[in-house]
Amino acid sequence: MMSFVTIERRMEQLAGGLAVLGGLGLLFATAMTCASILLKLLRRGLDWLFPPVDAVLVLEAVRPILGEEELVTYGVGVALFAALPWCMIRRGHIKVDLLEPLFGGRFNRALDLLGDLALAVIAYLILTRQWFLIFKKARRSEESFFGALFSGDVSVVGDRLRDGQESQILGLPLWPTYMVAELCVAVFFMVACFCVLRSARALWRGGA
């Protein structure tokens, strides 16, 4: 069995790695926006240099990146989902510690456990409900979706996939972004469970 310290290190690596990976989404959004602005300014320059009708023909490709807002939204959104586990493991969520000195060590550690438990429950609720963004609920049928998934009944799985939804401007399919979001929430839930374990262990062991 892995020691607690090993698990802790693995979890930190997982959460940190995911956050950095997601952070690339921020960098992507930045690069994309800057490129779009440069292209737009260039386009305006060209339009100013040449009469309006010819301008279209001059370097047709020089125009702002279409759907820039959507790409920024998805880049930043992925970064935010990926940030959830890291914020959790680093105790980033604000608490009001006004009464902490009054409570005494043992009670405080119990409250720490309660706080982590609350976050883990929320992560679990989001994980299990957000699932239905990706897959439709079976209407008026009790057949088990997971049954179909594990028995390899691909057609049932494919039918339930919400692959119809698209972004407004670019028409990008949205289901991959749902999947990424769900995956990040799954890691968030896992890390939150670890944090429950961590504070339970601190409560059990006592000490300062």
């Binding site: 309006p52 279209v56 125009r63 702002p64 119809g164 939804q165 698209e166 407004q168």
Partner: protein
């Protein structure tokens, strides 16, 4: 037993669709059922979520009824989109009736099978509002325009303009700073975003067909609908449906007139018949792409266009 239905939508309380369509509907239902059907209206997304989540809120039964635009969930209501194609819409009442007919005959059991549709209609003819006059097709070249729906975004791109997507309330700021040089919306919303003060040119398409329109639906959760006592459901059915949809379309077109009046000091351009013919010809690739797309979605796009045209004609 009495029924209280929670109605959720994205429009502010002062919007005509809320004040002049939903509020009167609530009053009519209250009267017809002698107080046994109550509509609780929650405007402006006050129960949370984004406008794009509304349809699913009705599907999941989070609320009982939603007023939404199928276009908010792009890619999901592809057959509905036929009414949003350029130069498809004619009279708003007739087009709304045609949309309802299609819902009844095909869409209710097709792409709307997750809800009960109570009404479906369209808004008045779309108009181009721009800082520089648009008198011919070439005037659109290079212009950054806010496009309302996916099809029209495609159309503007086809015409050489740069379509920009943004929510309605962002239009004034972006216009005043020159981020966009115009927006494509029906007359009705013009005063609410002070468009008549920000641009001085409005381009209308003359002739039978409008440049474009967007579709609206009033959708109800299936369980909530099924669970209503029969006599109350009959009342609900009687107060909604085809007549309600046609009236909603006609009302939206009527709300255009006062807004157009407010803007009458501006340069209102009416495209000549020859110019409109050029625009229609230039729009052909949009049709072709839509038909090709329809094939991927598993229906015959060309036939759908013919059906929609026929339905509009029969409701004229």
């Amino acid at each position: 037993q009495d029924v209280t239905l929670r109605v959720h939508h994205f429009l502010p309380e002062r919007a005509s669709l809320h004040a002049q369509l939903l509020v009167p509907l609530a009053e009519r239902l209250d009267e017809a059922s002698e107080g046994r059907i109550k509509l609780e209206l929650f405007p402006a997304m006050s129960l949370g979520g984004r406008p794009g989540d509304l349809y699913d809120q009705a599907v999941d039964g989070a609320v009982d009824i939603v007023l939404t635009l199928p276009g908010y969930t792009a890619g999901r209501f592809n057959q509905t989109e036929v009414f949003e194609l350029p130069f498809m819409m004619r009279d708003a009442r007739a087009t709304a009736s045609a949309f309802w007919d299609l819902i009844e005959s095909e869409l209710q059991d097709g792409e709307y099978d997750e809800t009960q549709i109570l009404g479906g209609w369209v808004h008045g003819p779309g108009v181009i509002h721009s800082s520089k006059p648009v008198e011919k097709l070439e005037d659109l070249a290079g212009m950054e325009l806010r496009g309302p729906t996916r099809v029209i975004t495609d159309l503007l791109g086809e015409f050489g303009a740069t379509p920009v997507g943004m929510p309605l309330p962002s239009i004034p700021e972006n216009l005043s700073k020159g981020v966009i040089q115009g927006a494509v919306v029906p007359w009705e919303v013009v005063p609410s975003i002070k468009l008549q003060e920000l641009v001085s040119n409005h381009t209308e398409v003359t002739g039978d067909e409008a440049l474009y329109t967007a579709t609206f639906v009033l959708a109800m959760n299936l369980d909530a609908y099924d669970d209503m006592p029969d006599e109350l459901r009959d009342i609900l059915d009687a107060e909604t449906g085809k007549a309600f949809s046609a009236d909603a379309g006609a009302a939206m077109a009527e709300w255009d007139a006062p807004s157009r009046e407010i803007s009458s000091g501006n340069n209102i351009i009416q495209l000549s018949a020859e110019e409109v013919a050029r625009w229609k010809a230039a729009a052909q690739p949009v049709y072709d792409r839509w038909i090709a797309r329809a094939e991927g979605e598993g229906f015959d796009g060309a036939a759908a266009i013919e059906t929609a045209r026929g339905l509009i004609e029969s409701n004229m």
